[in-house]
């Protein structure tokens, strides 16, 4: 016998694609906040999701993989919000980020650290085929 996943309420999805540019992250942030507001999240939880998604977009922008779009998929049900942030690159190959100017401070991992702190579940995969995908889950208090 295989373990069946627990039965799930109906999933409703919102998909958003923005140019992979800093000036569009605010749009993703506000759209995701609007989605989270439709659920039973508290204001603090909405802010958490907003920041986590923005951090994921910022990562996608700062990585130098040649993608020109960021895809944000939000899947909601009665229990949780699941957000997938992915680079839409032709090649999908994530390469090293550009070198920083001398006076720039790279606090490596601050973005991902924040995401992990703010969300309940985070999965991160980068592969030559899939590009970089960050999957984050925020659960509703039951």
């Amino acid at each position: 016998m295989t373990a069946n996943p627990p039965e799930r309420a109906t999933v409703e999805s919102v998909e958003l694609r923005i140019p992979r540019k800093a000036e569009w992250v605010a749009v993703a942030r506000l759209a995701v906040a609007a989605i989270a507001s439709r659920m039973r999240f508290t204001i603090e939880e909405i802010e958490d999701v907003k920041l986590a998604v923005a951090e994921a977009c910022t990562n996608a922008i700062q990585s130098a993989d040649g993608a020109d779009q960021i895809e944000i998929l939000c899947e909601t049900d009665d229990t949780q919000l699941r957000v997938t942030v992915a680079n839409r690159s032709g090649s999908g190959v994530a390469i090293a980020p550009p070198p920083l100017a001398e006076d720039e401070v790279r606090i490596d991992g601050l973005g991902v650290f924040l995401i992990r702190s703010l969300m309940d579940d985070v999965e991160y995969d980068a592969g030559p085929e899939t590009g970089t995908r960050l999957v984050m889950i925020k659960r509703l208090a039951s």
Partner: protein
């Protein structure tokens, strides 16, 4: 979805940098430039007022940390004014509360600055 930077000189050596809006990957270079300009002019004691900041992300934190690093080389300080619980929470979970002085008012931050 923008940031406003307002720099005010005071009687002493400290300058107050009042930020208003959202500090994110798009707007943080503007904050970085403003801080850089002050530091280039030899202002090493900064009070950064975040009371009108509604949102800050890791790039914004990075800019504040970068500023702190630079003024510290000259024995300077960066003290923050912040009471917004969501923003304080970000400084909490990242441990940055231990690196910055965070105060409830400009007065308190100014006093700590000297």
């Amino acid at each position: 979805m923008d940031i406003k930077v307002n720099v005010r000189e005071t009687d002493g050596e400290t300058n107050i940098v009042e930020l208003a809006g959202e500090i994110d990957v798009y707007t943080s270079p503007k904050v970085k430039d403003a801080l850089g300009e002050l530091i280039d002019r030899g202002v090493y004691n900064l009070v950064i007022d975040l009371e009108k900041v509604r949102y800050i992300d890791s790039t914004g934190l990075g800019v504040l940390i970068g500023g702190l690093k630079r003024v510290r080389e000259h024995g300077g300080t960066v003290n923050l004014v912040c009471t917004n619980p969501q923003i304080k929470k970000i400084f909490d979970i990242t441990g940055l509360v231990k690196i910055f002085g965070i105060y409830d008012s400009e007065d308190a931050a100014m006093k700590a600055s000297v």
